[in-house]
Amino acid sequence: MASADTRSDEALLGAMAVGDEAAGIAFVRRYQRRTFGLALSIVGDTDLSEDISQEALVRAWRHAPVYDSRRASVTTWVLTITRNLAIDALRMRRAVPIDPDDIINLGIVSADLDPSDQAWRNDASARVRVALASLPVEQRRALVLSAFYGLTADEISRQESIPLGTAKTRIRAGLGKVRSILAADGLYDGAVGALRPPKLPSVPALPKQPGDAPVIPQPPHQEHLS
């Protein structure tokens, strides 16, 4: 058997699914800094972030048998679980004010990356940070509030004291620009591998009879294992 540390994420999950505990430990060691960092960025509390990060890794371990590589990369899957848990925790602790600058100041948007440096071009995380950094501040705030804190456009409009239409426009423009930048970087071409486009679930047929409600599947990034 190959050393656990050198196996791909998918291979580790596959091994975990059949009870390979060494693979599980390797998986935890590979992802604990990412999940803890993401949770800390969102909730800003070390103890709570540890609980969130641990719960995300526990769920990934226990749900390894049902991981579907056609829907999302392992990284996306694990980080999405972490984000959803963090958002749940935030919503239950409403006393904590949300400020997207908290995330921005933690280093997500780093302006000190040199575009001519080839090292960062091979790092998907750095490229996403650069793309975010290129957005106008108001678009970046709206996008961070939506992507990391799970706020709707209506909630963003209230938090930022802007019209609802403006909030929607900022979200749309911000995400569209990041998409264009990453596409120009070739990040969707599989060069990095972390952003392999997931396959969308099949969309149900329209109801044939009035009142027959279609069953709407959740898009991949909304998957919330429990």
Binding site: L79, M92, P197
Partner: protein, 250 residues
Amino acid sequence: MTYGPDHFGGDADRQGSPAGCELFQSAAAELALGSLTGADRSIALAHLDDCADCRSLLEELSTTADALLLAAPEADPPAGFEVRLLARLGRNELAPAPAAARLGSVIPLRRRARVILAAAAAAVVIAGAGIGLGIAVTPRHATQSATPAIRVATLRSIATSNIPAAPVGQVAITAGKPSWVVMTFHKPGFSGWVYCMVSESGHSKVLGSFWMHDGSASWAVPLASSGAAVSSAQIEGLNGAIFATAQFAS
């Protein structure tokens, strides 16, 4: 501004008409980010049924939205993270027991705590047999002044104007070093984070937070003290709402 049926052009535009596509594209970012809700989301998804271009757009935007999470900086978790995680998974044999458990770390009940739970369960049975709530169970040969081996109290929900308080779980505290708090708690239909607090020598102390799934949880956490001075326990939601309290017999 909201997106109603008219916004997407009604049934006619579900077939991928230019007007329907334009309106879908105005909502696609929110859909990709997961923040489009209710009827708007349902209608937007319905538009995808016959529009390959908009499906492709949504795939790319969803991938972009997922990629944003990569921007979060990595951070080193606190010391002992891995050990506590493995304990949480019930894989203690792969990691040494934490020599000094971090106060506030919660170890869901697994193999290591089974002996403690069995003892606590025995005490609960005795309590349920009519000896009383908050009973202290002493060893057979214990003297009157000895610290009880296990003290058990019933967790009770908070009474409201319509609903009286009711038993919702048990808390047991074992004597010894370390002393352990073992707890079962039920809150039907509830999933989420809760805090456990105890009052010890007149001071309130957070023992830790833990995740409840489908209204039920069991867990154990070591105490730095002997536990003899713990007079009450309390379960709270993350928003500070008190879910249940337990009083130990003095």
